[in-house]
């Protein structure tokens, strides 16, 4: 056995695939890896605040168990236990049996799930070690992680700025090497936008690709769980583990799961890449636009053919989204009534009063605002004008993608129109906050997969994300292009100075 306590080796900076090799060849132990992560957390977490719960004792114990198995297995740890001894962080809206899952909300502040989500069960079967639960916008409603009942997370590249959201804690934890990789969830951009803001890789799978069982529901027709990682290979590794059909989620698709790792390393010569003109808009940060155009040049240089395409209903996506997502949320969040779990107000006159006070004290502002908007859109007299209308426009947006994909393989866009904005900058103006999701929202409405990868930095050293969008259930091709781009650039290797 190697000596423990060697944080100076920088093991916390490892990727899953690298750590897994070193563990199997026994050049490092899981215990060393975990210790390196916790010594990193000791140094940086006070500034970043990526976590809402840290499970250090359990993680240390689990690492000893992992080392024992690694030792006994005599170099032949089976591929199905690829994550053996590897520490990951999980967004706080994914249920883990016995570990508080609060969705960064007061109303669930004391909620301890009595069951395990399918994705974390898959990770467990693969041998992962839980580091803790990461901060988020309350119930995943937000683009900045400022809407957390436990306070905001900071961007590791600039502590005065937001890490993006809602999976801001997961993205910041990955970017600051406070974990090896993480899971997030994405309803309108909540994996990709924080990944872009923090300079890491974030994948939103096709709707139905990954089980939502155990994911606290926000907008059920849009929510998907996905990986946030340090590189594209790790993204493929986690997709292999968490993807696939699950009888516990009736919206999970019964479609064969490919080996996503096999898609990596293939060249992209002759692939047809679409560049939608609607994604290069006025008001876009000029540095972002310039960087994206350069990234497109790199992709062309790798042999792909690019062509201009149109997704004509792009400008209607945010309006559509904020009707549909809030309507679904108002229904999903009706369950928080102070009866079966979570917070209940102490003083009340009767049952109705108990409901009203519990919900008013338990939910934060943004959650209330969205419940109000959704309730209004679904209420008598407005249903046709708002909810049904939005469902019809959703059909048009989905058709935009179907039409575009008849002539191309992948669509390339910026992930976000600006780099990470300042903390507090958009808090008072919800509509401005919603507009920051302008490039990610259509993808959820259409249900297609998309990945955000680092593609450069602003002059202020803030990361910029490139979004690659694929056909339904074709994560392989976007991973393939993402990998080819990543391997020909160095952006993913840059680390923030914290």
């Amino acid at each position: 056995m190697k000596k423990t306590g060697s944080s100076d080796k920088g093991l916390h900076t490892l990727t899953i695939h690298h750590a897994s090799e070193l563990l199997k060849s026994r050049e490092i132990s899981s215990r060393e890896l975990i210790e390196s992560i916790f010594s990193r957390i000791d140094k940086t977490e006070k500034k970043i605040k990526a976590y809402v719960t840290i499970t250090s004792d359990e993680a240390m114990k689990a690492s000893e168990e992992a080392d024992r198995i690694l030792h006994d297995s005599r170099f032949t740890v089976h591929d199905s236990r690829l994550l053996l001894g590897i520490p990951l962080a999980i967004k706080d809206n994914i249920c883990i049996d016995g570990i508080r899952t609060a969705c960064s909300s007061w109303i669930l502040e004391n909620f301890i799930p009595p069951y395990e989500s399918t994705v974390t069960k898959c990770l467990k079967d693969a041998g992962y070690i839980l580091l803790g639960k990461t901060n988020m916008d309350e119930f995943a409603m937000g683009s900045s992680t400022e809407n957390s009942a436990f306070g905001p997370t900071k961007n590791p590249w600039d502590l005065d700025r937001i890490p993006g959201g809602s999976s801001g804690g997961s993205a910041a934890a990955v970017a600051s090497d406070e974990c090896i990789a993480a899971l997030g969830s994405d309803t309108g951009g909540s994996i990709r936008q924080p990944a872009a803001c923090c300079g890491v890789v974030g994948l939103k799978p096709t709707y139905g690709r990954v089980s939502r069982y155990g994911l606290v529901a926000f907008a059920s027709s849009l929510d998907q769980i996905g990986p946030i990682t340090k590189d594209v290979e790790d993204s493929a590794i986690l997709m292999n583990i968490i993807g696939g059909h699950d009888p516990m989620d009736s919206t999970s698709a019964d479609i064969k799961l490919p080996d996503f790792r096999k898609a990596l390393g293939k060249d992209i010569k002759g692939l047809r890449i679409g560049i939608p003109e609607e994604y290069f808009i006025e008001g876009m940060d000029p540095e972002v636009e310039k960087t994206i155009r350069q990234a497109i040049k790199v992709i062309e240089g790798l042999g792909a053919e690019t062509k201009k395409i149109s997704l004509p209903h792009t400008g209607y996506a945010i309006a559509t989204y904020y009707i549909l997502a809030t309507s679904e949320a108002s229904s999903n969040l009706a369950r928080y009534d102070g009866v079966k779990y979570g917070f209940r107000t102490e003083k009340n006159n009767d049952l109705l009063d108990m409901y009203m006070k519990t919900r008013s004290q338990g939910f934060g502002n943004e959650v209330k605002r969205r419940i109000m908007l959704g309730t209004y859109a679904l209420s008598s007299g407005y249903y046709e004008a708002y909810y049904r209308k939005a469902q019809q426009v959703r059909t048009l947006i989905k058709k935009d993608f179907e039409d575009a994909f008849k002539g191309i393989d992948v669509i390339v866009t910026p992930t976000s129109p600006t780099p990470a904005f300042r903390i507090g900058e958009k808090v008072e103006d919800p509509l401005q906050m919603y507009l920051s999701d302008i490039f990610t929202i259509s993808i959820n409405l259409a249900g297609v997969p998309a990945i955000s990868i680092p593609c450069g930095f602003t002059s202020n050293n803030l990361p910029i994300g490139l979004q690659l969008i694929g056909k339904h259930f074709d994560e392989e091709t976007i991973l393939r292009v993402a990998y080819a781009y990543e391997q020909s650039t160095e952006w993913h290797k840059r680390k923030p100075k914290i």
């Binding site: 301890i112 009866v339 049952l351 008013s360 209330k368 109000m372 469902q391 019809q392 919800p430 509509l431």
Partner: protein
């Protein structure tokens, strides 16, 4: 023109089982008006013959066999209850 009045906000809050302070009523009226005005742009589109999408996958109802399986033990199901008694959730009195 205002899309939603303060009175309507009060009505919607009741439907949503939310108790809003006067300040919240004011800001929500303002914010919801801004958002609903923005959402108006959907009316630029003629959707007369467009089918609504409620779900992106072409899947129908999923059925399971009606068989007895293990369920959450009562003690675990009740473990998060804010108030409980004798194996039940307890709520404020409903019937006089």
């Amino acid at each position: 023109m205002a899309k939603i009045t303060k009175r309507e906000v009060e009505h919607v809050a009741r439907l949503a089982r939310l108790e809003l302070s006067d300040e919240e009523k004011e800001t929500f009226t303002k914010h919801l008006n801004n958002i609903l005005t923005y959402v108006e742009k959907l009316n630029e589109l003629d959707t007369k013959d467009v089918k609504p999408t409620s779900h992106v996958l072409q899947i129908q109802n999923i059925f399971k066999e009606d068989e007895i399986r293990e369920s959450l033990p009562r003690e675990r199901a009740l473990s998060n209850a804010p108030d409980r008694t004798e194996g039940f959730y307890r709520v404020p009195k409903i019937i006089e």
